[in-house]
Symmetry: C2
Subunit: 193 residues, 2 copies
């Protein structure tokens, strides 16, 4: 998605530790008009998939998933990162290691909201080592639901998460794939439109 | 908002400890078509306010804020509940006690995304003791921004957060105000439409 690559080049900031800050439009402040363009692009890329639910994980995936869901006319469900007294015992659980927070946390999803009849599109803001997406895939498998695809806004192509998930035959589409980044340049992988 | 009251009566579950579970449509699974109706209602209620930014707090406020922002044509910014290596030192911070998680956590917002030129609508899913909204108001004051109003989906009218914030002259609109709730009945306060 060229407009996204240009926005990342214009507004993104590269920080030590392979951090790409895009919090001016994607995951702290959110440019809602632009997130709508992202949602339309996910709809274009997954138009042939028979999706009836979008799954994401709190926190920064939620807004992107909600805007995107409007183009699929489906509900979303977001996995929660820690036990809450608002969730009863009937839940799927897995563990995810956070690249950003450098810790491992529990991820939970109420069994009421994912089951064998669900055909799921996973949406998230970043894909790096793939821990979050793999945790969501575990939950989909535990639920007996069908994974239709994975839609990522920004993939760090120099980390292995995306390659490993695609190698398992999963349909992963990333709107921008960062090939390399330094504090003065960000290179993207060429993709078929 | 009658449609919301009916949905809460139909789908809400009352749990011990004054917990109202609405995770079938609002804060775990999200009924995006219905959240759009909520966004339209916030626009109707705050149509006279000159809002240029919506502020919320992760996690469950984010999706509601994003959908609502489409009706105001403004960006959102969401406060984050814990330190992340993706946020540099230039941030507003406050502490909030969580009713749901029964703990106190730090709330942070990058100074880049809130300042004196911002006229802010706070959006959140629940208002109970008011801790989260008060934390956001502290951040708005620290930023020198203008608070135009507070839009809440469900207020627990039997707790004092809303009363206290209104008593300070702040324009708080809640789409449903729960007067009382038991496991077999939920009563709402009458409101002017």
């Amino acid at each position: 998605m060229k407009a996204l690559e240009e926005k990342i080049r214009r507004e993104g900031q590269v920080r030590p530790g392979n951090i790409l800050k895009v919090d001016s439009f994607l995951n702290h402040q959110m440019d809602i008009a632009f997130i709508n363009e992202i949602g339309k692009e996910f709809k274009r890329l997954f138009a042939d998939c028979n999706i009836n639910k979008i799954l994401t994980i709190e926190a920064s995936g939620i807004g992107i998933a909600c805007i995107t869901a409007q183009y699929f006319n489906v509900p979303i469900v977001f996995a929660k990162k820690k036990q809450s007294i608002n969730l009863d015992g009937e839940q799927y659980t897995t563990k995810v290691q956070s690249f950003t927070h450098q810790k491992t946390y529990d991820v939970i999803l109420s069994k009421k909201y994912l089951g064998p009849s669900d055909r799921v599109l996973i949406i998230d803001d970043f894909l790096a080592n793939g821990c979050a997406v793999n945790g969501l895939i575990e939950i989909i498998n535990e639920a007996g639901a069908t994974l239709e695809g994975v839609g990522i806004v920004i993939e760090k192509g120099f980390q292995d998460g995306g390659k490993e998930i695609r190698a398992r035959g999963i349909n992963v589409k990333s709107l921008a794939i960062v090939k390399s980044m330094t504090d003065h340049d960000i290179e993207f992988e060429e993709q078929d439109s």
